[in-house]
């Protein structure tokens, strides 16, 4: 007899939560950051909890996880949590336990950092490892980049916290961030006409295209689809519902960098990131062209921004023309928005910095 699932939903977290956190739930007073990678939260009761944050590879093998459990058991009172960015956090109830825990983590190869004004772990998506529509391998891109940004992760010397994300197709499962590194296709899909009739629900695909570039068509006497290449914006939306519409291309699926997203409500309202660089080669295993630009942007930001300015605040203050000047990135016609509502992105003023 088949087993009926227990529809238990989201588990109650209190059964797993560090006891100091559970005890003081909702009753915290303030926090400090004694050093990069460490938070100290003080409760109204006077209780304190120290959190040590370490980077992980997100895609973890059993050995890595068990090692982290061993560390937690031996050095950290047996409780952990993960952040939204796949960093692991160990909580301890006494300051004395902090340094040994850090030493152990470092020894086992887990960088300690990602707190405060640092570059924290890049949030990422599935890529070639698992997804059915990826243009690149997000895990690989992130491993390559975090190797380069190790110093920025373990120190807290950026003007404000820096959140980066990658996505392996233009659907963008990756969250938005201060900086996003995403696949950008640059050619309309090549259609494998032999397969369309069998695999695709053609009206659904036609409806999915944001610019109505797809028409049903007879090709070699068989029902298929055709794309108006002048209209097509190479978004790849047609690919998931119709895999014969091959959008991925080893050469023409490029990477693009987007800057200035901001989702907290601190200071300015949340805003989306803007295109700054595109056409970057999808160059495994280390994507050096992407890394170079990313580091340049971070470097300029670090030099030029004021304390507490997120990248978006900083660019708002200095203006986009200066951003391009300082980062030495080319400004092209592609930077000028022409999507719906584009007009609000144009400069309808004489506010110009010379």
């Amino acid at each position: 007899m088949p087993r009926t699932p227990i529809e238990s939903g989201v588990p109650d977290p209190f059964q797993y939560m560090h006891p100091v956190m559970a005890k003081n739930y909702g009753m915290w007073k303030y926090h400090e950051r004694p050093r990069p990678g460490v938070l100290c939260h003080t409760a109204k009761s006077g209780d304190k909890v120290w959190t040590v944050r370490a980077g992980t590879q997100r895609q973890m093998d059993l050995y890595t996880i068990r090692k982290l459990c061993d560390i937690a058991d031996e050095y950290a009172e047996g409780h952990i949590r993960f952040t939204i960015r796949s960093n692991i956090e160990f909580m301890v109830s006494s300051e004395a336990k902090v340094q040994p825990l850090i030493d152990k983590l470092l020894k086992e190869g887990f960088p300690v950092g990602g707190t405060g004004p640092s570059v924290t772990m890049i949030s990422h998506t599935q890529g070639w490892l698992h997804c059915d529509i990826p243009g690149t391998d997000a895990s690989g891109v992130v491993k390559a980049l975090m190797d380069e940004l190790h110093e920025e992760f373990i120190k807290e010397d950026m003007p404000n916290r820096v959140h980066i994300a990658t996505s392996c197709c233009q659907i963008n499962c990756g969250g938005q961030s201060d900086i996003a590194i995403n696949i950008q296709h640059t050619k309309p899909p090549k259609i494998n006409h032999d397969l369309v009739a069998n695999v695709c629900e053609r009206p659904a695909v036609v409806a999915r295209c944001p610019v109505a570039a797809i028409r049903p068509a007879l090709v070699n006497g068989k029902p298929s689809l055709e794309v108006d290449e002048k209209k097509c914006i190479c978004c790849g939306a047609c690919y998931p519902p119709c895999p014969p519409m091959q959008i991925n291309d080893p050469e023409h699926s490029k990477l693009a960098i987007w800057v200035g997203g901001n989702h907290s409500n601190a200071r300015s309202k949340p805003s989306f990131q803007k295109l700054v660089a595109a056409g970057l080669p999808n160059n495994p295993p280390r994507w050096p062209e992407v890394a170079a630009i990313l580091k340049k942007i971070l470097h300029v930001y670090k030099e030029d921004a004021k304390d507490w300015e997120r990248i978006s605040d900083w660019v708002e203050r200095i203006g986009w023309p200066r951003f391009f000047e300082l980062t030495e990135l080319p400004f092209t016609k592609f930077h000028i928005d022409d999507w719906r509502g584009a007009r609000r992105s144009l400069n309808s003023s004489t506010h110009i910095r010379f």
């Binding site: 233009q170 928005d337 609000r344 144009l346 010379f354």
Partner: protein
């Protein structure tokens, strides 16, 4: 004796109150025994009262022009001409004023005399596009009136799908903020395209407006297809003694609250010795601090203009502001002035060829995208044209490298120069 006057109980109510009354004025004309316009104005009042009573307008258009021109007259025929026959025809001549709307009393009186003879005696200084509106000519008087104005050195303005009458602020004639020779720019631009004004054959109207500084007293960004605004490229001028005097008079707190904290880019700070520090690199020439501390601060010396294209009001896609297509253009030498005229020509040509019927420049840009417009008029894209780069990945970036190369080449040229 004049014809019977109409009862105007509602209009009469507009004769009281402290503001000058246009009704009282029209009544004066309607009482003007023996003048050719008297009957017209009597019936005009009648029709207007009828509008007030019924809350409806009763004019319709038609076709009236002067010899050699296709536009410039707004023809009005009454729909209630049976009841008000003398104002059955009530056409307006749109006459372009001197740039900046300067007059001496001599020319004013001459204009009055012409309008006394050929018109209704009713003149608007000015219409929203800047014309003197001589309102109320009969069809058979339009040519005569025009001929006299024309001989005095005045010309018809625009109407219909044409280059329209333009406007420039008082600017250099009196205003210390002026960064441009407004009247010269306006006259050069409009007078170059008189053919497109007088013989309407564009897709739709096209308006020039010129303001001498970013205060934009002509509302040009918001109402002109082609907006020219004076600005400067070097540092603003600070008279530190005048700064100190201002602070001494108003107090430090006033200056912080009304100047320092109002700068849109936090480019100002007050030094301990009551002098002012300006971060000119981040100043966006908004004019605010200069407006407040008019004696202490002024625009810099390296003056020029910013050009924005595409402003207009509501019809068909909603109000549009103009957008920057030339961040800075120097206007000193005649060669430089020629360049702005050339640019205007290129834009009008592109508009003529690419706009749909009844589509304004702003709507056209909205439809084809700013980048295509910029390319179409032979300019190079510039980050000052945008408030921010694109947010949406929906674009074919196929030939990114080529486009990037253009930028690098330009930058290399600039460095070499």
């Amino acid at each position: 004796m004049s014809k019977q006057k109409h009862e105007t109980p509602m209009l009469d109510q507009l004769e009281s109150g402290p503001w000058p009354s246009f009704i009282t004025g029209i009544k004066r004309l309607a009482n003007d025994e023996g003048k050719t316009y008297q009957d017209t104005m009597i019936d005009l009042l009648g029709q207007l009262e009828h509008s007030y009573q019924t809350r409806k307008g009763y004019w319709k258009g038609g076709t009236i022009s002067v010899m050699g021109y296709g536009g410039g007259i707004i023809p009005r025929f009454s729909e209630v001409g049976d009841k008000y026959p003398a104002s059955r025809e009530f056409h307006t001549l749109r006459i372009m004023p001197p740039a900046g709307m300067h007059y001496d009393t001599k020319i004013m009186r001459e204009m009055c005399d012409v309008w006394e003879k050929h018109g209704s005696g009713l003149i608007a200084f000015h219409g929203q596009s800047g014309d003197i509106m001589f309102q109320g000519a009969r069809s058979d008087k339009v040519q005569d009136a025009f001929d006299e104005f024309n001989k005095m050195g005045f010309d018809l303005g625009g109407a219909g799908p044409a280059v329209r009458t333009g406007m420039s602020c008082v600017g250099a004639a009196r205003c210390e903020q002026s960064c441009a020779n407004e009247q010269k720019i306006l006259r050069l631009l409009v007078n170059e395209f008189l053919d497109d004004m007088h013989r309407p054959a564009l897709p739709y109207k096209f308006k020039f407006k010129v303001s001498g500084c970013p205060n934009d007293c002509m509302n040009s960004i918001e109402r002109a297809d082609f907006s020219v605004i004076g600005t400067w490229r070097d540092d603003m001028k600070v008279d530190q003694d005048a700064v100190k005097a201002f602070i001494a008079e108003k107090g430090q707190k006033y200056v912080i609250d009304n100047v320092i904290t109002r700068c849109p880019t936090q480019a100002l700070s007050l030094n301990d010795d009551d002098t002012l520090a300006v971060d000119n690199r981040n100043c966006v020439r908004c004019m605010h601090c200069i407006n407040v501390m008019t004696k202490a601060l002024s625009p810099g010396d390296d003056k020029g203009v910013t050009i924005l294209i595409g402003g207009k009001r509501t019809l068909k896609i909603g109000d549009l502001m103009g957008t920057v297509v030339v961040p800075f253009m120097k206007l000193e030498t005649e060669e430089e002035y020629e360049k702005i005229v050339e640019l205007a020509g290129d834009i009008i040509d592109f508009f003529a060829e690419n706009a749909l019927e009844h589509e304004r420049t702003g709507e056209m840009i909205e439809r084809i995208g700013l980048a295509n417009f910029i390319e179409g008029i032979g300019l190079e894209v510039d980050p000052n044209m945008i408030a921010e780069p694109r947010q949406c990945s929906y674009v074919n970036t196929g030939n990114w490298d080529e486009e990037a190369q253009k930028w690098f080449d330009r930058k290399a040229e600039e460095r070499a120069a």
